[in-house]
Amino acid sequence: MTRFIVRRLLSTIPTLFVIITLSFFLIRMAPGGPFAREKKVPPEILQNLLKKYHMDEPLPQQYFRYLGDVLRFDLGPSFKYKDQTVNDLLGTTFPVSLTLGVMALAVATFLGVLVGIISALKQNKWQDYAAMSVAVLGISIPLFVVGPVLMLVFALILDWLPTSGWIGSRAGWATVVMPVMTLMLPPFAYIARMSRGSIIEVIRSDYVRTARAKGLKENVVITKHVLKGALLPVVTYLGPAFAGIVTGSVVVERIFDIPGIGKIFVQSAFNRDYTVIMGDVIVYSLILISANFIVDVLYGILDPRITYK
């Protein structure tokens, strides 16, 4: 097990390396630079600026310098947010995005599994049809429609919830409700459909027939014999689900004006804020890589048929 974890951790290094390299050159290949959009800067000042950020050096040299800095966990200074390093910037925004993402995924998993179980046990009854229509709707309706509509109804018309902000603001935890509801919708829908399908499949399986033939109560059959096998595929989905949440949070943070990474991400891409974009990409990749890693380990713990060597 330990060996598996170590090997799995080591295998993330090349992935991370590919991501850093790819984004670095992709960003530098684009025309324009961080200072292109500012007011006319005298050439000598621009020269100083470029020198300060080492942008006068040839590209490969900059690349290796950047790699070295990253190895020392130094993501450099921001070009636009003056006097702030990328580390500072991510330090304040990352916890916000992480809280949002983890809450959304937790709610999505809980509700998704619950709805999936109900649907599967009431297969082809009205509860099932209702739940599965909601699930298809959840997959079909874009986040950027749900978010504004929720805001319109619950904040602007009913005035129950604040339109924007985050936990630190005056409205406190009430700010969390709509962003989490919005962000959790797609993974909730997928998990509900997935768990319904796999529960139905497992209920028809031979080993559940055996369990029934032993005279076990139906609720024991479901909780002890059906759910564990049926919910295993849901665990594998959590990795990709997190990727979806990361992408979705870019939109949700923008709609609800949440001070997370997603909000500065799009802005810094527009601004050619090289170091911030790179920092964002690295953080996002780390999140995804660790999510997949946790899922793999979890799967191994839950499925006795898998042995790690």
């Binding site: 080993y207 369990a211 005279g215 006795p304």
Partner: protein, 327 residues
């Protein structure tokens, strides 16, 4: 004669409502099972033999299936009208089952101990520790080496034959009166098959358990069973003692089945016989003898009416227009 009958199946019907029509998987099956007896139910796949036994345990998936009529009298009580609670007292306790495919019949996510102990605790009221000891004892009886170590393993750590032994140990752990074995050897290697049958035979005799052995192989039945039911298209076409049926089969289908068993003791160089045609699709089957298209002795009446049961005495019955009043 009837006093030692422990299970009486009377005119049992199990229908499945499918998109294509009504599938009468079991259509009026009757037989008796006596204490300690081994009854073989023989038929091709799709003849309704497995569904008959699932219906006895009320394990038919509903919907689309339902028990459409008949009685299953066990211990003086009819199981069919019982509610879930009552039937659960029977399942795994008085009547237990083992299934065709040991690879999929054990829960892959639970240890063998968990799966065995839950049954014993449920039906015998033992605590977990005592139940585990009982389980180990049963595994030993079933011929699992080092059961005290292996009991905490998962099913995938066992071979197919070993898993079927675990299934047998689990099924017999509550000393049931009846063991239903649904093609217990079909999915196993030929060399293992005989061992498993021998095990079932030996343990049932030792524990005094009656066995219903479902199989499509007459060879299996010949060695083990006291009595035989031959099923075709959801109905029993012939039943009687194993010796009599092998010595003097009546129904043309039984005749065909016996002729198609390869035999080493007979010195004939003829080709192995096989019954022509395919078993019928029993959905929307018209009123006729379903065997007539494959029968070499078919008469006109066979095409329009199902033959009544002809009692030949001594527990021997046959449903064919060649016998009884129809003759």
């Amino acid at each position: 004669m009837t006093d030692d009958v422990i299970l009486q199946v009377k005119d049992l019907k199990a229908y499945f409502k499918l998109d294509e029509g009504l599938l009468k998987a079991v259509d009026g099956v009757s037989f008796d099972l006596r204490k300690g007896e081994t009854l073989g139910i023989v038929g091709e796949s799709g003849s309704g033999k497995s569904v008959t036994n699932l219906a006895i345990m009320k394990l038919i998936p509903t919907p689309p299936g339902r028990i459409a009529g008949g009685q299953v009298i066990f211990d003086g009580k009819d199981l069919i009208p019982m509610n879930d609670n009552e039937i659960r007292q029977i399942r795994g306790n008085k009547i237990s089952m083992i299934f065709q495919d040991p690879m999929t019949s054990l829960n892959p996510f639970l240890r063998i101990s968990t799966q065995m102990v839950e049954t014993i605790v449920l039906h015998q009221g033992l605590d977990k520790k005592a139940a585990k000891e009982k389980a180990i004892e049963m595994l030993k009886l079933a011929g699992i080496p080092a059961p005290e170590n292996r009991i905490d393993q998962y099913p995938h750590q066992f071979s197919g034959g070993m898993r079927q032994r675990v299934m047998i140990a689990m099924a017999l752990s509550c000393n049931p009166e009846i063991l239903i074995a649904d093609e217990p050897t079909t999915a196993l290697d030929v060399t293992i098959q005989a061992q498993i049958l021998e095990l079932i035979n030996e343990l049932s005799q030792r524990l005094g358990t009656a066995v219903i052995l479902i199989t499509h192989s007459l060879g299996v039945v010949a060695g083990m069973c006291d009595n035989i039911c031959v099923m075709y298209a959801g109905r029993v076409v012939e039943k009687g003692s194993a010796d009599e049926i092998f010595a003097d089969p009546k129904h043309p289908y039984t005749v065909g089945l016996i002729k198609s068993v390869p035999r080493l003791d007979k010195e004939n160089k003829q080709r192995l016989y096989s019954i022509p045609g395919q078993p019928p699709n029993v959905i929307n089957l018209p009123e006729c003898c379903p065997f007539f298209p494959r029968c070499d002795r078919a008469m006109d009446i066979c095409k329009s009416k199902y033959p009544p049961v002809a009692d030949l005495g001594n527990g021997r019955t046959v449903s064919c227009w060649l016998y009884g009043e129809g003759k």
